[in-house]
């Protein structure tokens, strides 16, 4: 992407923090809510300081600038505070709530999909719900069965929700800025394994529009649509395959809802082959969604079966060798591509 904006290296985590800071500066109605996002609430020596800044330190440093009225530590009551974020969004604030791990969605899903996401439709268009729910996804750090899921497929399924899922520091910043400025309910999926990833991030406050996929690598032989951390894994696979003379086009949808159908279809029209790489469980997933899109609208382009590389239909195992087998690897991606060449 050619751009005149100055950039510097930031981690994915720092990019998220920067987007939050910019959004909070530009709009006083933006508030943050979540468990220990500052931490140490009502501890004498931490009045204007944070104890944690979130479990991964992503919200660290914000309470010092914006104070505890805009950086709200919450009790462990996901339905309560995420529902409150929805109610606040319907009445004039722009809350950014943190659901610490996506696996906890079962504690608050009614407030997300049934209250927040449906409110505008059920009220005949006479309401809006500009709330962002940031959450961590992904296996890879042995966080085990209840802290390692993906499940963005569930949110992509739900009408009224936008599903945003950055794979690089620059995308994290730009997409989060757009998410906070957006007038709808946005689920923002941060991959815990990517927080330390470094990359060029533009200065300034420009958002990245939703529904615009990013071609992370050009190639003529096969289209690989990859989501979140699977972009990195697919780029590694593409390197291996390039050495064998197979040029992979790696497309990162960046937002699953809305989905940039055109970029995917245009690529398949060129390559005639599609592999979808998705760390979520395989059934009724983002992977099957993209496959079904192409099996319909891109059918005439296809020269080979559509292949999916996904996590298995199992919970996430704890033991490191099992977890490594669970997550789609560059080797598995490359092997799958070879099958359809």
């Amino acid at each position: 992407m050619v751009t005149a904006t100055a950039t510097r290296q930031l981690t994915y985590g720092q990019a998220v923090t920067e987007a939050l800071r910019i959004a909070m500066r530009e709009d006083p109605t933006v508030i943050l809510m979540g468990e220990d996002i500052a931490g140490g609430a009502m501890v004498d020596h931490l009045v204007n300081d944070d104890a944690w800044g979130g479990p991964m330190g992503v919200t660290k440093g914000l309470v010092q600038e914006f104070g505890r009225d805009r950086v709200l530590d919450t009790p462990i009551t996901e339905a309560g505070f995420i529902g409150a974020a929805v109610g606040a969004a319907a009445t004039g604030l722009r809350p950014v709530a943190e659901l610490m791990f996506v696996d906890f969605f079962g504690c608050c899903m009614d407030q997300i999909f049934d209250q927040g996401a449906k409110l505008r439709y059920m009220f005949g268009g006479k309401a809006r719900c500009p709330v962002v729910i940031r959450t961590q996804i992904g296996a890879g750090v042995s966080a085990a069965g209840q802290h390692s899921g993906c499940h963005y497929s569930v949110f992509t399924h739900m009408p009224g929700i936008k599903a945003v899922i950055p794979s690089t520091p620059a995308d994290a910043k730009g997409l989060l800025l757009s998410a906070i400025r957006d007038d709808d309910l946005v689920m923002f999926f941060e991959n815990k394994v990517l927080y330390g990833m470094k990359g060029e991030v533009p200065e300034g406050d420009e958002g990245i529009p939703f529904g615009v996929a990013d071609i992370k690598r050009d190639g003529d032989d096969v289209t690989v649509v990859a989501i979140s951390r699977m972009v990195t894994q697919s780029l590694l696979a593409a390197e291996q395959l390039a050495a064998e003379g197979i040029e992979v086009e790696v497309i990162d949808p960046r937002t699953l809802s809305p989905l940039d159908e055109e970029t995917i279809l245009t690529s398949v029209a060129k390559t005639h082959r599609l592999v979808v790489v998705d760390e979520d469980n395989p059934r009724c997933s983002a992977a099957t969604d993209i496959a079904a899109l192409v099996a319909d609208k891109g059918f005439d382009f296809l020269d080979a079966p559509i292949k999916l590389v996904t996590a298995p239909h199992t919970p996430v195992p704890f033991s490191p060798p099992l977890e490594a087998a669970y997550v789609p690897s560059p080797e598995r991606i490359a092997e799958t591509v070879r099958q359809i060449m």
């Binding site: 109605t29 508030i31 009225d69 805009r70 709200l72 919450t74 009790p75 009551t77 339905a79 309560g80 505070f81 995420i82 529902g83 409150a84 974020a85 929805v86 109610g87 606040a88 969004a89 319907a90 009445t91 004039g92 604030l93 809350p95 009614d110 407030q111 049934d114 209250q115 409110l119 505008r120 439709y121 059920m122 009220f123 005949g124 268009g125 006479k126 309401a127 809006r128 009408p159 009224g160 936008k162 957006d182 007038d183 709808d184 529904g211 809305p258």
Partner: protein
């Protein structure tokens, strides 16, 4: 927790306020009676849950609110909507699924809303509105609007997790919110004495160290006074209150309910203390209105409601393309 207050003299209320409240109660009763009748006639699709009998609660509470204040409601939401000033013809049209409905026919009885009027929606999820009310109160507190939020819910809802989470959150953040539990004795066919381990739901306030008050939900003046205190407290920044209004629904849980779980006597006991008749009696006894004046109000309401039904019946259904709109602001 204070004990049920009854027969309070409405010292703080002038004649006009009293007549307005009376009219609102009659509007709700008439609305519900007609909704039931037209449902039976097949004119109202889906489910309807009628509020008749509980009018004093919505009206006594909402009398203290303006458009900058918010309420959340329940599946039994018509009374709350009317008390909060939602357009009645628009509500009738909504029940029928017409394009002139307040939600363009897309919501129906269980999702009537008007955010401009501070009405954040009836709600098909028992307990679903409680966190939303906390959020509306958080907005008021954060932006310093001076507004409050009132959260209506039933005895059945007081067992939901959201009740606990919402009250704790409101208490620790001192949110300007008033929780109004309408204990009508039943959750569907299940008596409160079975489903709820607390004899008085208001007692549950002690788990959050906030005030909890039982009030006679058939006594408009008692509700009005109790609500005044709680809403005043919220507006002053002193935090939430839990009010339990002991009330009763005249109809079944929803239209079609055979009501095998309660007796005729029980119903009649309540009907004998009808809250609307009580207010009318007060107005007459204190010379604030005469029979003719009351009749004029009743007639005005009937006329308004009849006209609303005529208009709703004549109105068009929404165009089929409406199925696909209003999901997102932008997409």
């Amino acid at each position: 927790m204070s004990s049920p207050s009854t027969a309070i003299e409405p010292a703080a209320l002038d004649r006009e306020q009293l007549l307005t409240m009376y009219e609102r109660m009659v509007e709700i009763r008439t609305f519900e009676d007609l909704a039931g009748k037209n449902f039976a006639a097949g004119l109202v699709p889906g489910f309807v849950h009628l509020y008749a009998g509980e009018e004093a609660v919505a009206v006594g509470v909402c009398a203290h609110l303006t458009d900058r204040d918010y309420i959340t409601s329940t599946h039994r939401g018509h009374g709350h909507c009317i008390a909060k000033g939602v357009d009645i013809p628009g509500m009738v049209a909504e029940l029928m699924g017409k394009s002139t409905g307040v939600c363009k026919g897309k919501g129906g009885s269980m999702h009537i809303a008007d955010v401009e009027k501070g009405m954040l929606g009836a709600n098909g999820i028992v307990g679903g509105g409680i966190p939303l009310a906390c959020g509306a109160a958080l907005t008021a507190k954060t932006l310093g609007t001076g507004g409050v939020a009132v959260c209506f819910f039933g005895d059945g809802a007081s067992n939901q997790g959201t009740f606990h989470e919402g009250l704790n959150l409101a208490a620790i953040w001192k949110l300007p919110v008033v929780f109004v539990c309408e204990n009508n004795g039943y959750a569907e066919s299940t008596p409160v004495g079975y489903h709820c381990a607390a004899s008085d739901i208001a007692n549950r306030a002690s788990a959050y160290e906030i005030p909890g008050v039982v009030v006679d939900g058939f006594d408009l003046f008692a509700v009005h006074e109790t609500a005044a205190e709680a809403i005043g407290r919220a507006r002053r920044g002193d935090g939430p209150t839990l009010i339990e209004a002991k009330t009763y629904r005249y109809y079944g849980h929803f239209q079609g309910d055979m009501i095998t779980y309660r007796t005729e006597e029980e119903l009649n006991r309540y009907r004998q203390r009808d809250p609307i008749v009580a207010v009318k009696g007060y107005l007459l006894a204190h010379g604030l209105a005469d029979e003719a004046g009351i009749d004029a109000i009743d007639a005005r309401v009937t006329e308004k409601l009849d006209a609303a039904w005529v208009a709703a019946k004549a109105a068009a259904f929404p165009a089929v393309e409406e199925t696909l709109t209003d999901v997102y602001v932008t997409y």
